[in-house]
Subunit: 482 residues, 2 copies
């Protein structure tokens, strides 16, 4: 019996008491991360990294299916290159880490550790795009990036993080716009079908869009406590960067034109979204499709004859279709239950002498804790069904959470009242002015526009801005964010 | 017809004329890399990156099968952390890139962009290793690293490169030594079974070992031109870092002990080894197991009825088992042949009206250029057999190349004579003194000890050092290197 570990499992703050502390407890106790000696940089431990690997595998297949190719561009951006697009450098320069020495020698030009790679891709595109035959270019890369952050939290905000960044170039504005929306839809599908997370999607306001973009689209899942997490973004750049970098191509009519550009990214933050969407007071609950262990097999009374043998046989059988772990350590069954609950393993399979006698085993859902006895004859099907059910239940719960915490506000007072008393999102009309966004943020201590949802109704003639009461231009969803 | 591309295929220097230029031509014309605006950093293009992805997938499965887990440690190493192990910092500090500013603020302590991560792993191991129950720790990570290089060449020597670095901790010296050798053997297997490259393996001399290691083992494939490439290394550290970082564990007898450590790495250099082991004057030749396209289908007289239909049907069938591309562009067949030869696609499948009439197609080996007519009925088996054959032939050729260029030298004069006139490796006895290594290197303009091969015979009583004529301690293989 491992006393250190037993103690570990019990020490977790409840969500109600202190959500932030609950989060910190979970990432640490489920062994997702460790803190490093480098301020703001985290160590992703095997269990956390295995989740990221499953996420990568799933998303990468989606990208490749749509014709995207993976590449690798350098870690460093020369300062002069970063400065080529003015809005972009304004947005990113304040959070760059700068390399100034190579070996013993001071560099003639500072190098920025990439915070994002639009400028590098443009520099490369300039070399390889000449004719419409070279378009579209549909590139992606899986890399680390650095943004110097003052306050950091594992996964949610770290000075270094891992992500994928897609960068594409197209002949026409129409094609680039289509790509921008298509890739956001890939993210939405991925959140729903793979992570079991429901989210709203839409367009960012001018104020909240990416530095250098014409338009930014976003997916905004709501965490269990009503706070938003920007879960992935997709940007339409028009030909702004192309002009700044002088990237041109000869079109089908033999005219010289600027190509149209997009980029889109999703990062290790998504693991934060999984934790805060699905977790509970017993720890993580992982969506089956990315769980490193989908089913843990716990032998009951494992010293009795035949139990371990049967458990191993089950492991063998189930491993052909699922990610399975058999825990035959000498920790108590109770300890094991807590341990794998903390780690969010979606399904537990118990098997003991009585079960074997009945040619059955017990399946226990991490989510509902419901037990069911199932026959060993078709245990593969039963496990599959149970995992699918857990996925569906997680998704429904995530949807219910967002819907239950979606409020409306017609007036400034209502808006402030909801913001003060009801954690969640607020639907409210807006005039289109950044000034009103600023005012609402200040009045509420941080509520910002999340997006103009794709499914938002157009304002009617008598709809007015929740802030200034001028004629409304858009329905906006507002909320606090991580 | 694409004139730009047609020109491209023809412009390649022959290996005999200028091997270095041939290499540069190939990496560029096969579209493996592009040069970036950042000195010494390369852009890995889709075709090059796809090779790396296949390498990663293969090696990663080998590591995981042996119980290794992937993790992610930070990009940055605080200067004080790097300095904890004295030999290590001495070796790496001269080639570090240093971050000195975060945003607008000068950092209190400089951060090194990781050149390798022993120090970070030790800092983490200190937190997570307490008891023998926590051992072994078998970790690996796939990351980018930076070593500031003066002269750079794509894949072979770049300031930033991609690699995997394994880092493990063990209870005993014996277990750590076993891991060190086991992982070198994984590399040897991988070179032979996956890359079709024969290589010698052995132990580095004191002078050539890794900074901070007690022992370094290496795999040293020989390039087509007789020059060595250090293809992967595995290090045994003893408890040196553990002591420097104060990592201890409680052993089975309840005593406090230092764990024993290893690390091992293989980088994108391996792509350079593939190019220079297998390529020829027509471009790349890729080993089938990592080739992004294993078989390219070229329809002949594709405008004729039924040809494209049949070609598509074949693509459909073969794609179930192989990585296949059908090129139905309107480039000429001749242009296509050159293009896919340049790109090293191991097998070409031609299908035209006559073939269809005979229910057959033509398979052409990239290596031997031999054509064979095979029945469409069992084309999958024929393709599989042909790919296996190409792999075997590549391996045999690589072995013959190394064996034909393996020379012996008994005296200093012989050694210098061989070094001057016969590109390749030299087997020669050595006394064990670094002074002699230095002297041989100076006398030959760069021939260094590659390793003491595992299969080297022990020196007999009358065997003497090729340099100083004192009693020999080891048989060493010597050679120039990339």
């Amino acid at each position: 019996m491992n006393n250190k570990n037993q103690k570990m499992v019990s020490e977790i703050t409840s969500m109600e008491t202190d959500f932030a502390q609950w989060y910190t407890d979970v990432v640490k106790k489920a062994e997702l991360v460790d803190y490093s000696g480098v301020k703001g940089c985290m160590i992703i431990r095997p269990y956390g990294y295995a989740i990221w690997e499953n996420i990568q595998k799933d998303l990468d297949a989606r990208f490749k299916k749509l014709g995207h190719e993976n590449v690798y561009l350098p870690l460093f951006i020369p300062e002069s290159l970063l400065q080529k697009e003015k809005d972009h450098v304004k947005g990113f320069a304040p959070e760059c880490a700068w390399v100034t020495f190579g070996g013993q020698n001071e560099l003639a030009e500072r190098l920025c550790v990439r915070p994002t790679s639009e400028t590098l891709f443009c520099d490369h595109f300039k070399n390889i795009i000449h004719s419409y035959r070279d378009l579209p270019k549909l590139y992606n890369q899986w890399v680390n990036v650095v943004r110097w952050e003052k306050t950091t939290r594992p996964f949610l905000r770290t000075s270094e993080f891992l992500w994928q960044e897609g960068h594409t170039m197209h002949e026409t504005e129409e094609q680039a716009r289509e790509e921008t929306q298509k890739m956001l839809e890939v993210y939405r599908d991925f959140y729903a079908d793979t992570l079991a997370i429901y989210a709203i999607t839409g367009k960012k306001t001018e104020k909240e869009k990416f530095a250098g973009a014409e338009e930014t689209y976003t997916i905004e899942p709501m965490m269990h406590n009503g706070i938003a997490l920007q879960g992935g973004t997709s940007h339409y750049f028009g030909d702004g960067f192309a002009k700044a970098f002088d990237i041109t191509y000869t079109d089908r009519e033999n005219k010289i034109r600027y190509p149209h550009q997009t980029s889109w990214g999703l990062s290790t933050r998504v693991i934060g979204a999984i934790i805060m969407s699905h977790g509970d007071d017993n720890g993580l609950i992982l969506p089956p499709k990315v769980a490193p262990i989908q089913t843990v097999i716990i032998p009951v009374a494992q010293h009795k004859e035949g139990v371990l043998e049967k458990a191993n046989e089950l492991k063998e059988r189930l491993s052909r279709k699922f990610r399975v772990k058999l825990d035959d350590s000498d920790n108590s069954a109770g300890w094991k239950y807590s341990e794998y609950e903390m780690k969010g393993v979606p399904l537990r399979l118990e098997i003991g002498p009585k079960d074997i006698e009945n040619n059955s085993c017990v399946l226990v859902s991490r989510l509902t804790r419901q037990k069911q006895f199932v026959s060993l004859d078709n245990v593969e099907d039963e496990v599959e069904k149970a995992l699918r059910q857990i996925h569906d239940q997680l998704y429904e719960r995530s949807k219910r959470n967002l819907e239950a915490k979606m409020f409306e506000a017609k007036t400034f007072e209502e808006f402030c009242d909801v913001a003060a008393n009801n954690p969640g999102y607020i639907r409210a009309f807006w005039c289109g002015e950044a000034e009103c966004e600023e005012k609402l943020k200040d009045a509420t201590g941080g509520v910002k526009s999340r997006c103009i949802p794709f499914d938002a109704p157009a304002p009617k003639d008598n709809d007015v801005c929740v802030c200034c009461k001028k004629k409304a231009k858009h329905l906006v969803v507002w909320g606090r964010q991580y």
